[in-house]
Symmetry: C2
Amino acid sequence: MMKITGFLATVPLFSGLTPAQYDELAMIATAQTVKKGQPIFAEGDQGNGFYVVGSGLVKIYKLSLEGKEQILHLFGPGEPFAEAAVFTGSSFPAHAMALEESRVFFFPRQAFIELIRQNPDLAMNMMAALSMRLKKFAHLIEDLSLKEVPGRLAAHLLFLSGQQGDADTVALPVSKTQLASLLGTIPETLSRMLAKLAKQGYIATSGPRITLLDRDGLSDLAGGEKRL
Amino acid sequence: MMKITGFLATVPLFSGLTPAQYDELAMIATAQTVKKGQPIFAEGDQGNGFYVVGSGLVKIYKLSLEGKEQILHLFGPGEPFAEAAVFTGSSFPAHAMALEESRVFFFPRQAFIELIRQNPDLAMNMMAALSMRLKKFAHLIEDLSLKEVPGRLAAHLLFLSGQQGDADTVALPVSKTQLASLLGTIPETLSRMLAKLAKQGYIATSGPRITLLDRDGLSDLAGGEKRL
DNA sequence: CGCTGCGTTGAGCTTCTTCAACGATCGTGG
DNA sequence: CCACGATCGTTGAAGAAGCTCAACGCAGCG
């Protein structure tokens, strides 16, 4: 229990709460460990609560009838997922699976709604979290609809670099197969595009580490993303 | 003013509020009329509040550098838009334009946040609204990434039929050019796909009215959407 | 009555996927 | 500790889907 409240204090969604409120959260939470490749829930399952990643890495994804996969989100420690199910009250609209051995905390719907009703700060945090999700989704839609694969790839590499302290060499946090699914393509195409970008001098690849050789060029490919 | 509070009572986002709260909302709201084709805001504009459609039709959309458009949402009377900007506090992530002469109400950020802090019901409504948006976006992403154009078109026709009382003949609420942009394609392709579906006996077209001749067939095309 | 935007159709082409084969890597069990 | 199998990543060749470019009919509106 001590450990849980300590962890909860590090979750942005729960920032600004009082110690008593953390205790309440800890009261309603249940923990579970999921092994690599193990599902957490399936599309269509009843959404009676939401989750927070304690450790590990979780993917949220859709599957087509033919088995093609589109990853909607990757979530790491401290990030909540499936919050929307709490408020729509309906079933999960996508699948969730652990990409590594992970620990996740589950917060049941009704108890959490009580908390949120009594804590305007928690409500504000939740609205901010949902709004950020919407923004990310809008970006993904833009990528899928308006950019070609090289553009999406370039944008993602720049994103990863930013996430990793603007390092020139980034480490892919997931396998290339998963990256392809995240970018809305397939491993073969991703492999070819990486080779192409390398041949054109934009990047150098070495397994799961990619060095950005021409950030401006990548930025152009990505559709003139705003420079920071 | 009387008129505004009366209208606000019909907005789902504001349901369950007291008359006094409607007055407060009416106090902070400002109305504006936008003509057909006129922008309401542009991507990157400072998002200092959100809007509710009073009458007319508004599109939220992204543009690529080459000018291709992807419509994210179409909003009619009673629907809020750009709420997310209230909580991220940053700039609008997309463009908004009136597709018909429209009346929209603007709610400034700070004043609205005050209201929402004091009204758990309003907060709950807002979280439900944001969650519904997320679900719609997840669906759009699924369509763009995992379905081909005929599938998206079939799904949309069934959606329109449902929206219009399960009528067998649906009226397109927007031009075919706009519909193409909504489906993530271009007018030429949409035109060909409509012709193809008609030739295959799924539908019959007559200008902006489309008759569904084989709902089961369309449902299969759409990827086996759940029947209602 | 002309003009402009919308919708349609055709031809060619780009992009991406599919299918297939193969090398490398990694975890596991013998 | 090595050998094996499964998965991952890469590459090639062929094909499908949708886009670009162009032309043209049509309707609505000034």
